[in-house]
Symmetry: none
Subunit: 224 residues, 2 copies
Amino acid sequence: MVAALVGDPARANMLTALMNGRALTASELAQEAGITPQTASSHLAKLEAGGLVEPEKQGRHRYYRLTDDDVAGVLEGLAGLAARTGHMRVRTGPKDPALRRARICYDHLAGDLGVQMLDSLRERHLVKQKKQEIELTAEGERFLAKNLQISSDMLSHPRRPVCKACLDWSERRHHLAGTLGAAMMQRFAELKWAARDPTPGSRVVNFTRTGEKQFAALFGNGKD
Amino acid sequence: MVAALVGDPARANMLTALMNGRALTASELAQEAGITPQTASSHLAKLEAGGLVEPEKQGRHRYYRLTDDDVAGVLEGLAGLAARTGHMRVRTGPKDPALRRARICYDHLAGDLGVQMLDSLRERHLVKQKKQEIELTAEGERFLAKNLQISSDMLSHPRRPVCKACLDWSERRHHLAGTLGAAMMQRFAELKWAARDPTPGSRVVNFTRTGEKQFAALFGNGKD
DNA sequence: ACAATGCTTCGGCTACCATCGAAGCATGAA
DNA sequence: TTCATGCTTCGATGGTAGCCGAAGCATTGT
Protein backbone atom coordinates (compact mmCIF):
# COMPACT_ATOMS: atom_id res chain seq x y z
CA MET A 1 0.00 0.00 0.00
CA VAL A 2 1.20 3.44 -0.91
CA ALA A 3 0.34 5.04 2.41
CA ALA A 4 2.71 2.75 4.23
CA LEU A 5 5.51 4.07 2.08
CA VAL A 6 4.72 7.64 3.00
CA GLY A 7 4.08 6.63 6.58
CA ASP A 8 7.67 5.95 7.47
CA PRO A 9 9.32 9.08 8.90
CA ALA A 10 12.56 8.73 6.97
CA ARG A 11 10.77 8.27 3.66
CA ALA A 12 8.38 11.08 4.47
CA ASN A 13 11.35 13.37 4.98
CA MET A 14 12.76 12.42 1.63
CA LEU A 15 9.48 13.06 -0.11
CA THR A 16 9.12 16.37 1.65
CA ALA A 17 12.56 17.35 0.45
CA LEU A 18 11.48 16.51 -3.09
CA MET A 19 8.28 18.51 -2.84
CA ASN A 20 9.88 21.61 -4.31
CA GLY A 21 10.11 19.81 -7.63
CA ARG A 22 13.87 19.60 -7.79
CA ALA A 23 15.68 16.32 -8.14
CA LEU A 24 18.08 15.30 -5.41
CA THR A 25 20.79 12.68 -5.28
CA ALA A 26 20.49 9.62 -3.08
CA SER A 27 23.09 10.92 -0.66
CA GLU A 28 21.44 14.31 -0.39
CA LEU A 29 18.19 12.60 0.43
CA ALA A 30 19.97 10.51 3.00
CA GLN A 31 21.24 13.68 4.62
CA GLU A 32 17.81 15.26 4.51
CA ALA A 33 16.35 12.28 6.27
CA GLY A 34 19.18 11.99 8.75
CA ILE A 35 20.04 8.41 7.86
CA THR A 36 22.99 6.60 6.35
CA PRO A 37 23.27 6.02 2.60
CA GLN A 38 22.63 2.30 2.98
CA THR A 39 19.34 2.88 4.69
CA ALA A 40 18.40 5.56 2.21
CA SER A 41 19.12 3.23 -0.65
CA SER A 42 16.71 0.71 0.75
CA HIS A 43 14.03 3.34 1.20
CA LEU A 44 14.49 4.77 -2.27
CA ALA A 45 14.19 1.32 -3.80
CA LYS A 46 10.85 0.93 -2.08
CA LEU A 47 9.64 4.35 -3.11
CA GLU A 48 10.61 3.59 -6.67
CA ALA A 49 8.82 0.25 -6.59
CA GLY A 50 5.78 2.06 -5.30
CA GLY A 51 5.89 4.51 -8.16
CA LEU A 52 6.33 7.56 -5.99
CA VAL A 53 9.75 8.59 -7.22
CA GLU A 54 11.71 8.12 -10.42
CA PRO A 55 15.47 7.84 -10.69
CA GLU A 56 17.64 9.50 -13.27
CA LYS A 57 21.17 8.31 -13.62
CA GLN A 58 23.80 10.90 -14.25
CA GLY A 59 27.44 9.96 -13.96
CA ARG A 60 27.92 8.24 -10.67
CA HIS A 61 25.01 10.13 -9.16
CA ARG A 62 21.46 9.01 -9.02
CA TYR A 63 18.96 11.81 -9.03
CA TYR A 64 15.50 11.17 -7.67
CA ARG A 65 12.39 13.24 -8.31
CA LEU A 66 8.69 12.80 -7.60
CA THR A 67 7.06 10.81 -10.38
CA ASP A 68 4.53 13.49 -11.29
CA ASP A 69 2.20 16.15 -9.96
CA ASP A 70 -0.34 13.61 -8.83
CA VAL A 71 2.10 12.30 -6.28
CA ALA A 72 2.85 15.81 -5.12
CA GLY A 73 -0.85 16.51 -4.88
CA VAL A 74 -1.56 13.53 -2.68
CA LEU A 75 1.37 14.40 -0.45
CA GLU A 76 0.02 17.90 -0.16
CA GLY A 77 -3.37 16.50 0.78
CA LEU A 78 -1.87 14.36 3.49
CA ALA A 79 -0.02 17.35 4.86
CA GLY A 80 -3.29 19.24 4.88
CA LEU A 81 -5.00 16.57 6.93
CA ALA A 82 -2.11 16.47 9.33
CA ALA A 83 -2.13 20.24 9.71
CA ARG A 84 -5.70 20.69 10.79
CA THR A 85 -5.66 18.12 13.57
CA GLY A 86 -2.66 19.90 14.99
CA HIS A 87 -1.05 16.60 14.33
CA MET A 88 1.92 18.27 12.73
CA ARG A 89 4.87 16.06 12.53
CA VAL A 90 7.19 16.00 15.47
CA ARG A 91 9.97 14.22 13.77
CA THR A 92 12.73 12.33 15.43
CA GLY A 93 14.73 14.45 12.99
CA PRO A 94 18.44 14.76 13.38
CA LYS A 95 19.65 13.18 16.56
CA ASP A 96 22.44 15.66 16.89
CA PRO A 97 21.17 18.73 18.76
CA ALA A 98 23.93 20.85 17.24
CA LEU A 99 22.67 19.87 13.82
CA ARG A 100 19.21 20.96 14.82
CA ARG A 101 20.39 24.33 15.99
CA ALA A 102 22.52 25.45 13.06
CA ARG A 103 23.68 23.66 9.96
CA ILE A 104 24.50 24.17 6.32
CA CYS A 105 21.75 23.60 3.77
CA TYR A 106 23.64 23.65 0.46
CA ASP A 107 25.32 26.98 1.10
CA HIS A 108 23.02 28.81 3.50
CA LEU A 109 22.05 28.66 7.14
CA ALA A 110 19.44 26.15 8.24
CA GLY A 111 18.15 24.78 11.52
CA ASP A 112 16.65 26.62 14.43
CA LEU A 113 18.75 29.72 13.88
CA GLY A 114 18.03 29.79 10.17
CA VAL A 115 14.30 29.66 10.74
CA GLN A 116 14.56 32.26 13.46
CA MET A 117 16.46 34.58 11.14
CA LEU A 118 13.84 34.46 8.42
CA ASP A 119 11.10 34.91 11.00
CA SER A 120 12.79 38.03 12.28
CA LEU A 121 13.33 39.46 8.80
CA ARG A 122 9.73 38.86 7.89
CA GLU A 123 8.35 40.26 11.13
CA ARG A 124 10.19 43.50 10.68
CA HIS A 125 9.15 43.76 7.05
CA LEU A 126 12.70 43.57 5.81
CA VAL A 127 11.56 40.90 3.38
CA LYS A 128 8.21 40.01 1.90
CA GLN A 129 7.41 36.34 1.40
CA LYS A 130 4.88 35.05 -1.05
CA LYS A 131 4.83 31.27 -1.09
CA GLN A 132 8.37 30.29 -1.91
CA GLU A 133 9.32 33.64 -3.41
CA ILE A 134 11.02 36.11 -1.13
CA GLU A 135 11.50 39.74 -1.99
CA LEU A 136 13.87 42.16 -0.27
CA THR A 137 12.18 45.41 0.73
CA ALA A 138 13.81 48.86 0.61
CA GLU A 139 14.14 48.80 4.38
CA GLY A 140 15.67 45.36 4.13
CA GLU A 141 18.22 46.63 1.67
CA ARG A 142 19.23 49.41 4.04
CA PHE A 143 19.32 46.99 6.94
CA LEU A 144 21.69 44.62 5.16
CA ALA A 145 23.97 47.39 3.98
CA LYS A 146 24.21 48.93 7.41
CA ASN A 147 24.59 45.84 9.57
CA LEU A 148 26.23 43.28 7.32
CA GLN A 149 27.75 45.35 4.55
CA ILE A 150 25.81 43.43 1.96
CA SER A 151 24.72 45.53 -1.00
CA SER A 152 22.03 44.38 -3.37
CA ASP A 153 24.34 44.44 -6.37
CA MET A 154 26.33 41.68 -4.73
CA LEU A 155 23.31 39.49 -5.02
CA SER A 156 22.82 39.41 -8.74
CA HIS A 157 23.32 35.95 -10.02
CA PRO A 158 22.02 34.79 -13.34
CA ARG A 159 21.14 31.27 -12.37
CA ARG A 160 19.46 31.62 -9.02
CA PRO A 161 16.61 33.66 -7.65
CA VAL A 162 17.77 36.38 -5.32
CA CYS A 163 15.82 35.07 -2.41
CA LYS A 164 13.97 31.90 -1.82
CA ALA A 165 12.27 30.07 0.99
CA CYS A 166 13.63 26.65 1.84
CA LEU A 167 11.61 24.30 3.98
CA ASP A 168 13.63 23.47 7.03
CA TRP A 169 14.09 19.80 7.64
CA SER A 170 14.15 19.79 11.41
CA GLU A 171 11.97 22.80 12.09
CA ARG A 172 9.54 22.18 9.28
CA ARG A 173 9.34 25.89 8.63
CA HIS A 174 10.98 28.10 6.08
CA HIS A 175 14.45 29.47 6.28
CA LEU A 176 16.19 31.83 3.91
CA ALA A 177 17.88 30.31 0.87
CA GLY A 178 18.84 31.67 -2.53
CA THR A 179 21.65 34.06 -3.29
CA LEU A 180 20.85 36.22 -0.29
CA GLY A 181 20.89 33.24 2.03
CA ALA A 182 24.26 32.21 0.68
CA ALA A 183 25.65 35.73 0.92
CA MET A 184 24.57 36.10 4.51
CA MET A 185 26.05 32.77 5.51
CA GLN A 186 29.30 33.75 3.82
CA ARG A 187 29.29 37.06 5.67
CA PHE A 188 28.78 35.30 8.98
CA ALA A 189 31.88 33.27 8.23
CA GLU A 190 33.89 36.31 7.21
CA LEU A 191 32.89 38.13 10.39
CA LYS A 192 34.00 35.08 12.38
CA TRP A 193 30.52 34.75 13.80
CA ALA A 194 30.27 31.16 12.72
CA ALA A 195 32.19 28.45 10.89
CA ARG A 196 31.38 25.09 9.44
CA ASP A 197 32.43 22.23 11.64
CA PRO A 198 35.87 21.00 10.55
CA THR A 199 34.79 17.37 10.73
CA PRO A 200 34.72 16.06 7.15
CA GLY A 201 31.19 15.73 5.85
CA SER A 202 29.64 17.44 8.83
CA ARG A 203 26.96 20.00 8.13
CA VAL A 204 27.05 21.47 11.60
CA VAL A 205 27.67 25.18 11.88
CA ASN A 206 29.39 26.34 15.06
CA PHE A 207 28.74 29.88 16.27
CA THR A 208 31.36 31.70 18.30
CA ARG A 209 30.28 33.29 21.54
CA THR A 210 30.45 36.83 20.19
CA GLY A 211 28.93 35.66 16.91
CA GLU A 212 25.95 34.22 18.69
CA LYS A 213 25.53 37.47 20.58
CA GLN A 214 25.66 39.58 17.44
CA PHE A 215 23.31 37.23 15.68
CA ALA A 216 20.84 37.40 18.55
CA ALA A 217 21.05 41.19 18.55
CA LEU A 218 20.12 41.31 14.89
CA PHE A 219 17.68 38.45 14.62
CA GLY A 220 16.89 37.43 18.18
CA ASN A 221 13.41 36.57 19.28
CA GLY A 222 14.02 37.07 22.99
CA LYS A 223 14.08 33.37 23.72
CA ASP A 224 17.81 32.97 23.48
CA MET B 1 1.77 11.31 10.81
CA VAL B 2 -1.45 10.67 9.00
CA ALA B 3 0.03 8.44 6.32
CA ALA B 4 1.30 6.03 8.93
CA LEU B 5 -2.26 5.63 10.16
CA VAL B 6 -3.48 4.74 6.69
CA GLY B 7 -0.41 2.63 6.10
CA ASP B 8 -1.33 -0.19 8.42
CA PRO B 9 -3.24 -2.90 6.54
CA ALA B 10 -5.88 -3.39 9.20
CA ARG B 11 -6.62 0.31 9.44
CA ALA B 12 -6.58 0.65 5.67
CA ASN B 13 -9.24 -2.05 5.43
CA MET B 14 -11.39 -0.22 7.92
CA LEU B 15 -11.08 3.06 6.10
CA THR B 16 -11.81 1.42 2.79
CA ALA B 17 -14.94 -0.08 4.28
CA LEU B 18 -16.01 3.40 5.36
CA MET B 19 -15.34 4.96 1.97
CA ASN B 20 -18.93 4.62 0.80
CA GLY B 21 -19.97 7.20 3.37
CA ARG B 22 -21.87 4.85 5.60
CA ALA B 23 -21.06 4.38 9.24
CA LEU B 24 -20.06 1.00 10.64
CA THR B 25 -19.89 -0.34 14.17
CA ALA B 26 -16.60 -1.15 15.81
CA SER B 27 -17.21 -4.89 15.62
CA GLU B 28 -18.20 -4.73 11.99
CA LEU B 29 -15.01 -2.89 11.22
CA ALA B 30 -13.09 -5.51 13.17
CA GLN B 31 -14.61 -8.25 11.05
CA GLU B 32 -14.00 -6.20 7.92
CA ALA B 33 -10.32 -5.98 8.81
CA GLY B 34 -10.10 -9.56 9.99
CA ILE B 35 -8.94 -8.76 13.50
CA THR B 36 -10.33 -9.14 17.00
CA PRO B 37 -12.44 -6.41 18.62
CA GLN B 38 -9.63 -5.50 21.04
CA THR B 39 -7.22 -4.79 18.23
CA ALA B 40 -9.85 -2.90 16.28
CA SER B 41 -10.58 -0.77 19.32
CA SER B 42 -6.96 0.23 19.50
CA HIS B 43 -6.86 1.08 15.82
CA LEU B 44 -10.06 3.08 15.95
CA ALA B 45 -8.75 5.09 18.87
CA LYS B 46 -5.72 6.01 16.81
CA LEU B 47 -7.76 6.88 13.76
CA GLU B 48 -9.96 9.06 15.90
CA ALA B 49 -6.97 10.78 17.47
CA GLY B 50 -5.65 11.41 13.98
CA GLY B 51 -8.91 13.02 12.97
CA LEU B 52 -9.68 10.52 10.23
CA VAL B 53 -12.85 9.06 11.72
CA GLU B 54 -15.53 10.26 14.09
CA PRO B 55 -17.54 8.09 16.45
CA GLU B 56 -21.23 8.30 17.08
CA LYS B 57 -22.63 6.50 20.05
CA GLN B 58 -25.99 4.87 19.70
CA GLY B 59 -27.18 2.43 22.30
CA ARG B 60 -24.40 0.05 23.07
CA HIS B 61 -23.02 0.39 19.58
CA ARG B 62 -20.37 2.78 18.45
CA TYR B 63 -20.70 3.83 14.85
CA TYR B 64 -17.68 5.20 13.06
CA ARG B 65 -17.65 7.30 9.92
CA LEU B 66 -15.03 9.24 8.00
CA THR B 67 -14.65 12.73 9.42
CA ASP B 68 -15.47 14.58 6.21
CA ASP B 69 -15.06 14.67 2.46
CA ASP B 70 -11.47 15.86 2.68
CA VAL B 71 -10.48 12.62 4.33
CA ALA B 72 -12.34 10.65 1.71
CA GLY B 73 -10.67 12.70 -0.98
CA VAL B 74 -7.18 12.00 0.25
CA LEU B 75 -7.96 8.32 0.60
CA GLU B 76 -9.27 8.38 -2.93
CA GLY B 77 -6.04 9.98 -4.06
CA LEU B 78 -3.96 7.34 -2.33
CA ALA B 79 -6.06 4.64 -3.93
CA GLY B 80 -5.46 6.30 -7.26
CA LEU B 81 -1.72 6.18 -6.79
CA ALA B 82 -1.95 2.57 -5.72
CA ALA B 83 -4.07 1.71 -8.70
CA ARG B 84 -1.50 2.59 -11.29
CA THR B 85 1.17 0.39 -9.78
CA GLY B 86 -1.21 -2.52 -9.93
CA HIS B 87 -2.46 -2.76 -6.38
CA MET B 88 -6.17 -2.23 -6.03
CA ARG B 89 -8.47 -3.08 -3.19
CA VAL B 90 -12.03 -4.16 -3.84
CA ARG B 91 -14.98 -3.69 -1.57
CA THR B 92 -17.52 -6.41 -1.06
CA GLY B 93 -20.85 -5.19 -2.34
CA PRO B 94 -24.20 -5.13 -0.54
CA LYS B 95 -25.92 -8.41 0.15
CA ASP B 96 -29.32 -7.62 1.72
CA PRO B 97 -32.92 -8.26 0.55
CA ALA B 98 -35.89 -5.88 0.40
CA LEU B 99 -35.74 -5.20 4.13
CA ARG B 100 -33.02 -2.87 3.01
CA ARG B 101 -35.32 -0.77 0.92
CA ALA B 102 -38.02 0.20 3.42
CA ARG B 103 -38.74 -0.89 6.96
CA ILE B 104 -39.99 0.32 10.30
CA CYS B 105 -37.49 1.69 12.78
CA TYR B 106 -39.52 1.97 16.00
CA ASP B 107 -42.32 3.98 14.42
CA HIS B 108 -40.72 5.77 11.51
CA LEU B 109 -39.43 4.96 8.06
CA ALA B 110 -35.96 3.50 7.67
CA GLY B 111 -33.95 1.89 4.93
CA ASP B 112 -33.03 3.22 1.54
CA LEU B 113 -36.24 5.22 1.19
CA GLY B 114 -35.92 6.67 4.67
CA VAL B 115 -32.42 7.88 4.02
CA GLN B 116 -33.45 9.21 0.64
CA MET B 117 -36.28 11.15 2.22
CA LEU B 118 -34.07 12.90 4.72
CA ASP B 119 -31.53 13.63 2.01
CA SER B 120 -34.20 15.25 -0.08
CA LEU B 121 -35.54 17.33 2.80
CA ARG B 122 -32.08 18.51 3.67
CA GLU B 123 -31.12 19.29 0.12
CA ARG B 124 -34.11 21.50 -0.38
CA HIS B 125 -33.55 23.23 2.94
CA LEU B 126 -36.84 22.02 4.35
CA VAL B 127 -34.91 20.91 7.42
CA LYS B 128 -31.63 21.93 8.94
CA GLN B 129 -29.46 19.25 10.48
CA LYS B 130 -26.85 19.94 13.06
CA LYS B 131 -25.27 16.71 14.21
CA GLN B 132 -28.17 14.69 15.50
CA GLU B 133 -30.51 17.63 15.95
CA ILE B 134 -32.91 18.36 13.13
CA GLU B 135 -34.87 21.56 12.87
CA LEU B 136 -37.84 22.17 10.63
CA THR B 137 -37.53 25.37 8.60
CA ALA B 138 -40.40 27.70 7.71
CA GLU B 139 -40.38 26.40 4.17
CA GLY B 140 -40.42 22.89 5.54
CA GLU B 141 -43.47 23.67 7.61
CA ARG B 142 -45.30 24.97 4.55
CA PHE B 143 -44.20 21.97 2.54
CA LEU B 144 -45.58 19.51 5.07
CA ALA B 145 -48.86 21.34 5.44
CA LYS B 146 -49.40 21.52 1.73
CA ASN B 147 -48.33 18.06 0.65
CA LEU B 148 -49.01 15.86 3.64
CA GLN B 149 -51.46 17.86 5.71
CA ILE B 150 -49.15 17.76 8.67
CA SER B 151 -49.21 20.90 10.79
CA SER B 152 -46.54 21.70 13.28
CA ASP B 153 -48.94 21.68 16.23
CA MET B 154 -49.47 17.97 15.59
CA LEU B 155 -45.87 17.43 16.41
CA SER B 156 -45.73 18.62 19.98
CA HIS B 157 -44.86 15.80 22.25
CA PRO B 158 -43.44 16.32 25.70
CA ARG B 159 -41.10 13.39 25.80
CA ARG B 160 -39.52 13.39 22.38
CA PRO B 161 -37.65 15.96 20.34
CA VAL B 162 -39.62 17.12 17.35
CA CYS B 163 -37.01 15.91 14.92
CA LYS B 164 -34.04 13.70 15.29
CA ALA B 165 -31.54 11.97 13.10
CA CYS B 166 -31.38 8.22 13.45
CA LEU B 167 -28.50 6.25 12.08
CA ASP B 168 -29.85 3.83 9.54
CA TRP B 169 -29.27 0.14 10.15
CA SER B 170 -28.68 -0.90 6.57
CA GLU B 171 -27.68 2.30 4.84
CA ARG B 172 -25.54 3.53 7.72
CA ARG B 173 -26.58 7.06 7.06
CA HIS B 174 -29.12 9.21 8.82
CA HIS B 175 -32.83 9.01 8.35
CA LEU B 176 -35.57 11.07 9.94
CA ALA B 177 -36.78 9.97 13.34
CA GLY B 178 -38.47 11.80 16.21
CA THR B 179 -42.05 12.95 16.34
CA LEU B 180 -41.93 14.21 12.80
CA GLY B 181 -40.60 10.93 11.48
CA ALA B 182 -43.40 9.07 13.24
CA ALA B 183 -46.04 11.50 11.99
CA MET B 184 -44.87 11.17 8.42
CA MET B 185 -44.84 7.39 8.55
CA GLN B 186 -48.32 7.41 10.01
CA ARG B 187 -49.49 9.72 7.23
CA PHE B 188 -48.03 7.44 4.59
CA ALA B 189 -50.09 4.61 6.06
CA GLU B 190 -53.27 6.74 6.20
CA LEU B 191 -52.78 7.77 2.58
CA LYS B 192 -52.41 4.09 1.67
CA TRP B 193 -49.00 4.79 0.25
CA ALA B 194 -47.44 2.09 2.36
CA ALA B 195 -48.23 -0.50 5.02
CA ARG B 196 -46.26 -2.67 7.34
CA ASP B 197 -45.87 -6.22 6.17
CA PRO B 198 -48.56 -8.43 7.76
CA THR B 199 -46.06 -11.16 8.57
CA PRO B 200 -45.74 -11.26 12.37
CA GLY B 201 -42.49 -9.75 13.56
CA SER B 202 -41.58 -8.43 10.16
CA ARG B 203 -40.37 -4.88 9.95
CA VAL B 204 -40.66 -4.64 6.20
CA VAL B 205 -42.73 -1.78 4.85
CA ASN B 206 -44.47 -2.43 1.52
CA PHE B 207 -45.18 0.55 -0.68
CA THR B 208 -48.14 0.44 -3.05
CA ARG B 209 -47.51 1.27 -6.68
CA THR B 210 -49.20 4.67 -6.45
CA GLY B 211 -47.64 5.25 -3.05
CA GLU B 212 -44.17 4.71 -4.43
CA LYS B 213 -44.93 7.12 -7.23
CA GLN B 214 -46.18 9.81 -4.88
CA PHE B 215 -43.23 9.29 -2.59
CA ALA B 216 -40.80 9.59 -5.47
CA ALA B 217 -42.52 12.75 -6.63
CA LEU B 218 -42.01 14.34 -3.22
CA PHE B 219 -38.66 12.94 -2.19
CA GLY B 220 -37.22 11.30 -5.30
CA ASN B 221 -33.64 11.65 -6.28
CA GLY B 222 -34.14 10.76 -9.92
CA LYS B 223 -32.64 7.33 -9.55
CA ASP B 224 -35.92 5.52 -8.98
C1' DA C 1 46.64 0.81 -14.16
C1' DC C 2 45.00 2.64 -9.36
C1' DA C 3 42.38 5.41 -6.30
C1' DA C 4 38.20 7.98 -5.04
C1' DT C 5 33.39 8.72 -5.02
C1' DG C 6 28.50 7.26 -5.16
C1' DC C 7 25.45 3.83 -4.49
C1' DT C 8 23.90 -0.91 -3.53
C1' DT C 9 23.67 -5.53 -1.21
C1' DC C 10 24.23 -8.46 2.76
C1' DG C 11 23.90 -9.76 7.68
C1' DG C 12 22.72 -9.01 12.26
C1' DC C 13 20.76 -6.15 15.74
C1' DT C 14 17.08 -3.61 17.87
C1' DA C 15 12.83 -1.26 18.63
C1' DC C 16 8.47 -0.63 17.65
C1' DC C 17 3.74 -1.97 17.13
C1' DA C 18 0.11 -4.95 15.77
C1' DT C 19 -2.05 -8.79 17.82
C1' DC C 20 -4.62 -11.50 21.14
C1' DG C 21 -6.23 -13.39 25.98
C1' DA C 22 -8.29 -11.92 29.98
C1' DA C 23 -10.59 -8.75 32.66
C1' DG C 24 -13.23 -4.35 33.28
C1' DC C 25 -17.12 -1.00 32.12
C1' DA C 26 -21.27 0.41 30.00
C1' DT C 27 -25.69 -0.30 28.03
C1' DG C 28 -29.82 -2.82 27.24
C1' DA C 29 -32.79 -6.86 28.01
C1' DA C 30 -35.18 -10.45 31.00
C1' DT D 1 -31.74 -7.69 40.40
C1' DT D 2 -29.13 -10.82 36.93
C1' DC D 3 -27.63 -11.88 32.39
C1' DA D 4 -26.01 -10.77 27.70
C1' DT D 5 -23.89 -7.83 24.36
C1' DG D 6 -20.62 -4.36 22.71
C1' DC D 7 -16.60 -2.13 23.44
C1' DT D 8 -12.45 -0.80 25.98
C1' DT D 9 -8.15 -1.37 28.83
C1' DC D 10 -4.27 -4.07 30.44
C1' DG D 11 -0.35 -7.12 29.86
C1' DA D 12 2.51 -10.05 27.28
C1' DT D 13 4.17 -11.90 22.96
C1' DG D 14 5.92 -12.08 18.39
C1' DG D 15 6.86 -10.52 13.71
C1' DT D 16 8.29 -7.06 10.99
C1' DA D 17 10.96 -3.39 9.31
C1' DG D 18 14.17 0.29 10.04
C1' DC D 19 18.85 0.84 10.99
C1' DC D 20 23.90 0.53 10.55
C1' DG D 21 28.70 -1.84 9.66
C1' DA D 22 31.10 -4.11 6.25
C1' DA D 23 31.76 -5.44 1.79
C1' DG D 24 30.69 -5.33 -3.27
C1' DC D 25 29.87 -2.93 -7.93
C1' DA D 26 29.94 0.97 -10.93
C1' DT D 27 31.63 5.23 -12.66
C1' DT D 28 34.94 8.90 -12.94
C1' DG D 29 39.38 10.98 -12.42
C1' DT D 30 44.58 10.81 -12.29
